[in-house]
């Protein structure tokens, strides 16, 4: 019986199948009939229309490049803007002999060999109906000269193009970055991101800094014109036009005046400064010294300037704030003190006797304190105020490297801060696992000792140090730093704020924080390592100095700044936040080969804070000479 139904089912299935196949065949015929009708419509009925379009006139889509968005500081001061200038442009497809045309042009308007070279390069990359600039920034006189001779040059015209300009030159180079000509690689990326069609007609793209990271917002939407052109390629009339949409305007959280004061404060020194509003993560100043002139990069930097930048021992192209990795030195101590208190390894009253060195049990190796002879009896408060090394050698060993590593990761050490420009380095927060992975070596207790004073494997970027200081000022809550404060939509004029973003919602015990803060406040007072920089302040500052070794000093030898080559001198560091009780600004300063943090780095921070909190503009001579103060860190 079952067999029978199956047979019947089989037959039914077959019947069904044939029915449905016949139905499909009908659909196929109908579909092909439709296609045939469409072809007939296109090629017979509409033939004349398309014939005209194709033969006599051709439709060309001419892109209209949008104006690139502006970059302004928090008060609307332009840091990157556009200006219009005349360019001399050639349409290669309309010119019979390019070389003679250019030679003839050179007879009336100056065309350098560099211009020619650049034009050749553009020519190789271009589509045939585009116009290409041979000279930019024509003067009024040159425009007039060409206008008189215009009849001699079919296919050559004067156009106005927009150029990008960075009015503050070096001051914002490492923040704003620059645009540059679109390269093959950029093209590939744009194609991958499926936005290539929006870049038709655009020659420039953000290459560095905010210009790069906010490219999408800054570029805008390309408009286009459907133009009918005659056989010669000349535009006959415009059929349709869609206007472009300008790029959005970026408002930075940076105060340009503050930034300028910070840059000036560095004088001839190399280094970095990052200032952050602790509660929001807004970056108030972001300095890497020396900077470079971003305007030189917009149309491709010439060989001489490039060599000068690239070979300079000052490395102006290196974004030290973002990518420089330095030992934090003694600026690490407040964080270590927090770790000791929070993890219960130290109480405020716990006191050690510092003979001027530290030894591990069962070892004779002396880990020296910076002060020969030592600081005598030292508790937590004093350890920060006088920056006692011996106290932190012991604390580090008591905590153990993995506890230190875990604790410090809450301050953002060892990981990227997530700031809104690209290329950030993550520093090194050492741990047993890290050493095994990177160096294939076991961790030794001796390694832990020097980590306690911010030396050893420890590396931080100035940005990370500022972010960590801001977190300390913000009761432990770690914020993502950001340079852009708000974005103004070019179409609607609507301003959208960049919301503060918490990276680690971790809270420190208020009583522990109060202890560390009080000690940091006393660092700035008489008896502290930055008392000079703190003198006469109308608000309370919590700070900590630091010095990072560039070259190792042998056992039993003494570091004498004047004997060490300038570039091997110690780096000076300083962190601070103010006002200490209700912090509005947190700062990290690094001065390369500056020697000592209290005398070189701290005054720079003081000037920035004075301006930010009081509006005080410093007088001319800003930084004292390095050799003046004998005091050490």
């Amino acid at each position: 019986m079952k067999f029978r139904t199956e047979i019947r089912n089989h037959q039914r299935e077959r019947h069904h199948f044939r029915l449905r196949l016949a139905l499909s065949a009908a659909v196929v015929l109908l579909a092909f009939f439709l296609l045939g009708v469409r072809l007939f419509y296109l090629q017979v009925m509409q033939h004349d229309h398309y014939q005209t379009l194709a033969e006599n006139n051709r439709i060309t889509i001419v892109p209209i490049v949008p104006n690139r968005g502006l970059i302004l500081d928090r008060n609307g001061v332009p840091l990157a803007h556009n200006y219009s200038a005349y360019t001399l442009e050639i349409t290669p497809s309309k010119v019979e002999n390019l070389d003679t045309t250019i030679d003839d042009l050179a007879g009336i308007i100056e065309i350098t060999s560099r211009d020619r070279k650049r034009f050749r390069k553009l020519l190789e990359e271009s589509k045939n109906f585009e116009t290409l600039p041979i000279r930019s920034h024509l003067t009024e006189v040159e425009v007039a000269k060409f206008a008189v001779n215009r009849y001699r040059f079919p296919g050559v015209e004067i156009k106005a193009r927009l150029f990008r300009h960075y009015p503050h030159m070096e001051t914002f180079s490492h923040v704003v970055g620059h645009i540059g000509r679109i390269s093959e690689k950029d093209m590939e990326r744009l194609e991958d991101e499926d936005v290539l069609s929006n870049y038709r007609g655009t020659d420039h793209i953000g290459k560095l800094g905010l210009e790069q990271s906010y490219e999408q917002q800054l570029h805008g939407i390309t408009g286009f014109e459907q133009v009918e052109t005659d056989a010669g390629g000349r535009a006959v009339r415009t059929l349709a036009r869609t206007p472009p949409t300008s790029g959005d305007t970026l408002y930075l959280s940076i105060d340009s005046k503050l930034q300028q004061i910070a840059v000036k404060a560095f004088g001839q020194y190399r280094g970095a400064l990052v200032a952050i509003e602790p509660s929001s993560g807004e970056v108030l100043a972001f300095v890497s010294q020396p900077g470079f002139d971003p305007n030189l990069f917009v149309d491709g930097i010439d060989a001489a300037n490039w060599d000068a930048y690239n070979n300079s021992p000052d490395k102006p192209l290196n974004n030290r704030a973002l990518r420089g990795q330095y030992p934090p030195g003694s600026t690490f101590k407040p964080f270590m003190a927090m770790a000791g208190l929070e993890l219960g390894k130290r109480s405020p009253s716990y006191t050690i006797f510092d003979p001027g060195f530290y030894t591990l049990p069962g070892s004779s190796h002396h880990y020296r304190d910076w002060k020969a002879g030592g600081h005598g009896s030292v508790d937590l408060h004093k350890s920060i105020v006088v920056s006692c090394d011996t106290y932190y050698y012991g604390l580090a060993v008591d905590l153990g490297i993995d506890n230190i590593s875990n604790f410090m990761s809450h301050f953002g050490f060892g990981s990227k801060s997530g700031i809104d420009i690209e290329g950030e380095q993550s520093g090194v927060l050492p741990s047993q696992a890290w050493k095994m992975k990177r160096l294939k070596q076991k961790w030794y207790t001796g390694d832990t000792v020097s980590v306690g004073i911010g030396q050893g494997y420890n590396l931080v970027t100035p940005l990370q140090l500022a972010v960590a200081t801001a977190a300390l000022a913000n009761n432990g809550q770690l914020m993502r730093p950001h340079l852009v404060h708000s974005i103004q939509d070019s179409k609607t004029g609507q301003i959208s704020l960049v919301a503060p973003e918490t990276r680690d919602n971790w809270r420190l015990k208020p009583e522990n924080l109060a202890l560390v803060k009080a000690a940091m406040v006393d660092v700035m007072r008489p008896g502290g390592t930055a008392s000079h920089a703190g003198a006469g302040a109308e608000y309370s500052i919590a700070g900590k100095t630091g010095t990072a070794q560039v070259v190792a000093i042998k056992q039993g030898e003494k570091y004498v700044a004047s004997r060490v080559a300038e570039r091997n001198r110690d780096h000076a560091l300083f962190i601070a936040f103010a006002p200490a009780d209700k912090p509005r600004i947190a700062i990290a300063v690094l001065v390369e080969n500056g020697g000592h943090g209290g005398s070189i780095a701290a005054p720079i921070a003081r000037m920035v804070m004075d301006y930010y909190l009081l509006g005080k503009v410093p007088k001319e001579q800003l930084v004292p000479d390095a050799a003046e103060e004998p005091e050490h860190d």
């Binding site: 077959r14 199948f17 045939g36 296109l42 090629q43 033939h47 398309y50 014939q51 194709a54 499926d194």
Partner: protein, 364 residues
Amino acid sequence: MIRRLFTRFVAHLDGYLLLALSLIMLFGLVVLYSAAGEDYHRVIAQVVNLVVALGVMWLVANIPPQHLARLGLPVYVIGLLLLLGVALFGEVSHGARRWLSVGVTRIQPSEIMKIAVPLMLAWYFDRRAGALRFKDFVIAAALLLLPVAFIAKQPDLGTALIVSAAGFYVLFLGGLSWRVLIGLALAGTASLPLLWSMLHDYQRQRVLTLLDPSQDPLGAGYHTLQSTIAMGSGGIFGKGWLHGTQAHLEFIPERHTDFILAVLGEEFGLFGGLALLALYLLVIGRGMVIAANAPTLFGRLFGGSIILTFFTYAFVNIGMVSGILPVVGVPLPLVSYGGTSMVTLLFGMGALMSIQTHRKLVKT
């Protein structure tokens, strides 16, 4: 001796199909020479593609259908694993993650699915032949949607479309009830406004551009605009081989791959286009006859799906180039330049030939 060898060599080929296919390929090569800017290197490369694909076709034609059917499950599973591999480790190219790097070469697992899905489904239905229940259709639909979801996510809409079509044809020919079909169609239409309201602005913009390319004449719309100008200006007889102005002025993008029909239309006119349609109809008609006469459910379903999928390729491509369908990446079968799709298409043709030429063996 040589005669016997020859007879054995062609024993499993289908004369009608082979003739129609060969004519299309020859026509394709002629058009390609013009589309590639009279670059014979491109033509030679395509000939190599054709030879390889024909070899695959011959091989498949010589495998009896019941052996082919048994490949369904393993090929499907491997294809699915490879798709998973692409999702996890795939290489990104042109904004989509489609390729999987295997040592020296790269493979595109979604292409395998164009065969694997109908093969798997036809095999499954064949096993349940005579006792197909609603439950089986549900399982089959799941087997179809899983790889389609992966491919759509890459994203590769063209391939996702072809794979879902190939699977759907098996379900349809297998007897999916009309009530379900109509129900699905109604539910789909009804849910459109809801779906629309859930989309972001930019996603809506994308959909609109897909439906009306003139909204984005710099991007997707540029292709259609230029291809319709080229075809329309070709007229009834065309401008003659190598004499198309639009194609040679490089107005037509991708003119040797997805948009090759624009060159054909411009240079060979309405006659060229209708001739191509006629040749496609020959292939499809023969394929349908083979499927209708197949002795097993597997043969019917797999054969039917292959030939309807072939039709889908042609319809979607021609519709897209002539401007009545949105632009999705589907090649013109056997004409567009490219090796991968050629192999997949001729694999299917080989399977049809196998179903046709192994009939008697199964019937007894």
